[in-house]
Symmetry: D2
Subunit: 340 residues, 4 copies
């Protein structure tokens, strides 16, 4: 199976997302997963089942294996910046799950290192590879709705993560809404200049006790007057809700959720249909596959990364502006968010 021309990949972190990426990589032609790293036995065991030849428990050890073209970073958020930096310094491209870091200063720093190294960095904003969001993007880009005026992103999770996770997550805007900020940028392809965030604790008081919110409406203003609005909830009783609507001068396009099946049951109580796919693993299963494939292809062809460091930086800035807006109860300009 080994082939000297194969693309050689290492993977760091074999939690939920790491396993998905590893599974997808194992099925790609022209790709060899040469190394995997996880501090936990359970993760390493998974790599073993997938017959990864080099399995280690430390990231630096993995980088020393040599001949690695790119590394896939799926370890906890607080390792992302360091791991990307280390890879860049070793001349290794990296794909990193979002966010690169919760600190703007650190993100700017790492991007600088990557830039100097000449390596490539892709960020894991997986929704850009979902067929629904892509279709909306394609139609907007092709002018099917004319000039975009209003963008509406609905993004609700089926349930909140544990409080222990929320505490370290950077809060709703950096943990969850950041995907929606990226979607808003992706679809309209213009920069956001102002943010107004409204939020509340309506689901679980414990979330409020650790200083976070669980429900929000965020309004974004783009440079040219286009407006976007995102609504979030940590807990939708009916499952994962991921929709987008773009209204423009010539029309409107909507994408819907993906459902478990298409059945409609008619009885004397009403008409009944199946719920949306439960959560991101189900909804974005195919998006994850395409995402990692696009990363590899872009490297092979020397193309621009489909989602680069700047995309991560901009969404982080929007998120930080949203945090400030919520705190100060006023619209905040992106230009107010800078490294001190």
């Amino acid at each position: 199976m080994s082939n000297t021309k194969d693309f050689k990949i290492a993977i760091a972190g074999l939690g939920r997302i790491g396993k998905i990426h590893l599974g997808n990589l194992c099925q790609m032609k022209g790709v060899q997963v040469v190394a995997a790293m996880d501090p936990l036995e359970e993760g390493r065991q998974y790599a073993k089942e997938k017959m990864v030849p080099n399995i280690v428990s430390s990231y630096s050890e993995m980088l020393e294996i040599g001949e690695i073209d790119a590394v896939i970073i799926c370890s906890p958020t607080n390792t992302h910046a360091d791991y990307v930096e280390m890879a860049a310094k070793a001349g290794i491209h990296s794909f990193c799950e979002k966010p690169l870091d919760l600190s703007l200063e650190r993100v700017v720093e790492v991007l600088e290192v990557v830039k100097k190294s000449g390596t490539k960095l892709m960020l894991g904003f997986n929704r850009r590879f979902d067929k629904e969001f892509r279709k909306v993007k394609e139609l907007v880009k092709n002018g099917a709705v004319g000039e975009p005026h209003l963008v509406k992103v609905t993004s609700r999770d089926p349930g909140a993560p544990p409080i222990s996770y929320i505490e370290k997550s950077g809060g709703l805007f950096l943990d969850m809404t950041i995907h929606d900020f990226d979607v808003a940028r992706f679809i309209v392809d213009k920069e956001v200049v102002e943010v107004f965030a409204k939020g509340a604790v309506l689901i679980d008081q414990a979330i409020g006790e650790v200083g976070d919110i669980d429900t929000a409406i965020v309004t974004l203003g783009y440079s040219d007057g286009t407006m976007a609005v995102i609504d979030n909830s940590r807990q939708a009783s009916y499952g994962y809700d991921q929709r987008v609507e773009v209204f423009g001068s010539q029309g409107m396009v909507q994408s819907n959720n993906n459902f478990m099946d298409s059945h409609k049951l008619y009885n004397d109580k009403g008409i009944h249909a199946a719920l949306p796919l439960h959560f991101f693993l189900e909804r974005y299963q195919e998006a994850y596959r395409i995402e990692i494939m696009d990363f590899i292809k872009s490297l092979e062809n020397g193309n621009e990364m489909p989602v680069d460091g700047n995309d991560g930086l901009q969404s982080l800035k929007i998120g930080l502006a949203a945090i400030k807006s919520l705190k100060e109860n006023r619209p905040v300009k992106i230009s107010e968010i800078f490294c001190e």
Copy 2:
């Protein structure tokens, strides 16, 4: 309100449908309802409330009032043929609820009388005036689906009528399916040449005991190879189900039911929506209004009747062929159905 140029209408029979027609006529400009007839006090009382000037209990008496341009016949089926005939002989146009008669011989006879009289006759196939069926017809006519290959008519009632009604109704095919035969003819605009009917008693054994069926699938063959299939049930637990689908060489068009409202409720059990409008009075409310308006307009403009005696005759023939087919368990040609 009276105006010598107004169109003068008499109405016979003020049951469920008669009331609807009278209500609609009372709101039409240029129309005067000059007389109403019903053997029952309850019907005459309704006419009184609507301020009809001449209210009688016998049809012949009503025709003698004079100056009647047209009569709307909504009395029981077994009076239709006689009433149309009497109107024609008096030089009065008629609109008659379907069917004209359950006997082919009698229908042919009456149509002959009408023809000789020079009066016009319209039959009340109300679905031709429903916006859904009209849209399908219009699209098919405009070639939106190319050459029609397959037509599918779904027609299910929310509940069976009383056995006493069923006994005299002429049976499922002449009472209920006859509307669907007309829809099949209306949409494709070609004549049916062969019928195969399959039926069963699945809802109520009492229906079987009076020699009728409550569930059926009828296949129709048109002269050019186009095929249609109708499915019927006397009792759909979820309400009135009236859909049509036309598949052709270039596409397909479907019409759906009309629903009570458009809401969708998402909860942990699924997604729930409202049922179809309950029955024909709700679903075809607007169709009845347009139907009677079209009758008047066509008379005023000297146009062809939108549904004429021949339409009634052809649907009756298809119905009689279906009855024969069911009885003999074989496809029956329309040419086998003729006056003896």
Copy 3:
């Protein structure tokens, strides 16, 4: 037809909406339209066709006719307050198209007069009588979505009114969004405490030149943390867009537009369906009928008005807060809006 027990109605203003109300009133049992007023010949002519016995060109003249139980006020906005006041002083109930006035002071003043007079006042927020909004309200009220967390109102017109109209309209928020403010109050049944409005001129620069906007996103905060967001456009290429979505602790309910018909056409280009009903006259035809019927019934039964003066006052306050918010680019509390 005259009956001493009939409810006697006068109508002021026979423009587009006045004609609709008159038409509906003429078909109601137990109601007599005894007088109509319009300064224009065209309006008076319409009343004549509807056989209104007293037709005048001045409002005060009409009130002097006597024996009027209630007046329907559909005249231009700048007459509303005076006409309601005059009716109240004459002991006549009134139904008044929204808004009562664009000035908070004047509205408070008029409501005071009405209160003292002991007469009833209903305001014409017609959407409360639309089956879609009612169904959403009913489901929310019955707890079908649990506690409401997020309300989303989409409200887009098919085309902007003439600039001459916009100039005097009070602006987007008082002319158009005020309906949406009322919907947001109607559905959640709690008071709004804070408003943040974002707006832009994206459709027609001429609208900007008269100091108005044509596109907006308005976020509302309720007293208990519930949030609502309204998006508006003066011009949707695909027609009138009127939807609402309520997300709550136990589920979500959405209402959709009403469409011209239900057809779906499948061809090699895609699947195609009909557009929404064009504008408010089509969409809210039935709502207008129910609205005026509810007004009469509530008077007859001595019930509370289904939409009263306070409803008008609250929506006006939200609108004024939205105007202030847009101007000052900050969230504005309703408590900041008061009579000076």
Copy 4:
């Protein structure tokens, strides 16, 4: 990777379907594809890429490799019976693509051999593993629609196969409709007793010239009065159309097509949506995976085959009855179809 406890599979025929099965088998845990056979170099090359250890060009040679637990037969239809028979005699289980054979006599013969051998045989009716059909089946089985009265199967291909294929296919009913016959049996779980088939050549005269039809409506009668109707076309301009509807005493359930994406584009022409997934490879991709997995699992657990030889036999009988019905233009009883 080799494991003595692994299930050892051989595969015969690496055309379109063979490749899909091989691809799916390669990703299954506990399964080893130990041998592949294809008379064509192209098929063998595919097996090589998938690293199948033994690759041969003759079926008998493959069976001699030894230690094969089961064989997957995806070779041309005219080899199916022989290959299943040979496997059975060698004590090897088989999964065989439908149909086992076009001759009833040969099918009965082979099933006898399989029975005596004690091996298992599964037939490749892939739709039984599609989530849409399974959901309908599950709901019907659980009584969600009460007693089934009417079953409607829509089955249309996006384009006809080459005439050379059609000539040897056994005709529309045995090549295409046989899947729908199986669906009708699968969903209702009762035996069909009578068939009436109506067909025409409406798409391509060349199809008629080789004695086949391209458009059909087939009505099925079950033993208890339940009826089913299938409509077929070899060419739907809008793609692959695979729907089912079951109407019963307590409700109705429908399954729909699966679409390319969920977008809706609103513009001044109408509302536009994406087409169904193009053809069976796209629509049933996941069904193929589950099908082969169920085969393996059933063997491992010693369970009944999810689709067995009798299922193939019954659908073949319905197909033969349909052919006879079309030829003789009369309903044909399944009991008329027997080995001579």
